[in-house]
Symmetry: C2
Subunit: 215 residues, 2 copies
């Protein structure tokens, strides 16, 4: 029972964070790290770290801790980012362009290989800082997804256009969507969706502030 079912969703979320901190420890020259140290870096208990990692396998060495390079490799394999993953993006507005230019993708094992936009004025232009990605019309989506075997898409269009764009992605064969539009996407359960809503995050902070500040 160590396959990807029965694993608590919060544990999966934290796995990415462990990887991020492990890379920091590696860059600082640590060969091993204990659950306690790793937890401290993320404000988590040592027990939490051990329990989480144990869901995915037995990676630790009693008396020693976790060997940093080994654990990094194993976690990458589990997350599926040990090989480069091709990603496409729909919506080349301000946010879309910023995401394409974002340095972090390559480091995480992702490569943005295609960009799409509904706006004819943008089609045909090269996206700045993108290693030569050209904006394509939406109608090319199915063909590109098939020929390049792309499974992941980033959705960065305005709220009003999001549901329609998501349907186009799903019908083209996309299996996971990272959604930046402030809407709840209606997609089949076979398609994974992860949403980032900046407004929601700000509201969260606003609430926390009013909780313990002055009325």
């Amino acid at each position: 029972m160590n396959r990807s079912d029965n694993i608590p969703a919060p544990a999966v979320r934290r796995l990415s964070l462990y990887l991020r901190e492990l890379e920091v420890f590696q860059n600082n020259g640590f060969a091993t790290v204990s659950s306690r140290r790793l937890g401290e870096a993320l404000h988590l208990s040592d027990a939490q770290v051990r329990k989480d990692l144990a869901y995915f396998g037995q990676f630790g060495h009693p008396g020693i801790g976790y060997r940093v390079p080994e654990l990094i490799q194993r976690v990458r394999r589990i997350l599926g980012t040990d090989k480069l993953t091709r990603v496409l993006i729909v919506g080349v507005g301000n946010l879309g362009r910023a995401l394409i230019a974002f340095r972090g993708f390559a480091k995480h094992g992702f490569d943005v290989v295609a960009a799409f936009d509904r706006d004819a004025a943008k089609v045909g232009l090269e996206v700045p800082l993108s290693n030569g990605v050209i904006v394509q019309p939406m109608r090319n989506l199915p063909a590109i997804v098939k020929t390049q075997a792309i499974r992941l898409g980033i959705l960065a269009v305005p709220a009003m256009a999001a549901q329609e764009a998501a349907e186009g992605m799903v019908q083209s064969g996309i299996r996971g969507i990272l959604n930046f539009a402030p809407v709840t996407l209606q997609v089949p359960p076979s398609v994974a969706v992860s949403s980032v809503d900046i407004g929601v995050h700000l509201e969260q902070l606003s609430f926390q502030l009013s909780g313990s500040g002055h009325p």
Copy 2:
């Protein structure tokens, strides 16, 4: 016991989503909405919706549901977004500029009133699509926070610069940070942090895909 303690964090997170969907219902001309309908829009159970809202007060009307405009107003008050909140941003790179240009802020009750960057080449320039926000040097941060009484800051600098920038924000009096850098910020417990890590979100999707796809 209906003050902001004892309320589960997930319930607070969902409160923002309820607000978002309520605005959709309002735009579609609904005067009232039941917990069931509101839940369906967000893939949540009706019981979940009622329980969540009940943490914050008694807003519903038996036999009727929730009156949409009334509930919107109440939720905004709870989140602290019924009045305009001034926000600053540190880091005017690709992402920072995209965030400043983001339309949604005003709709959510936030107003980006100042921008800062360490890079002297950017200082003094006006940020495009920002209603005249000029990039200021980091050393102006404390004075602006004080004179404009700003409590919330958006952090959009590269990972390497994030901790230092966060410390500058905290020392200037910022009480909540929306962090886009892929690092765990170390700040005093009195400062609220909400983080958006795009890499983590993509890894999450990648993991879900490998879970039920072909190996």
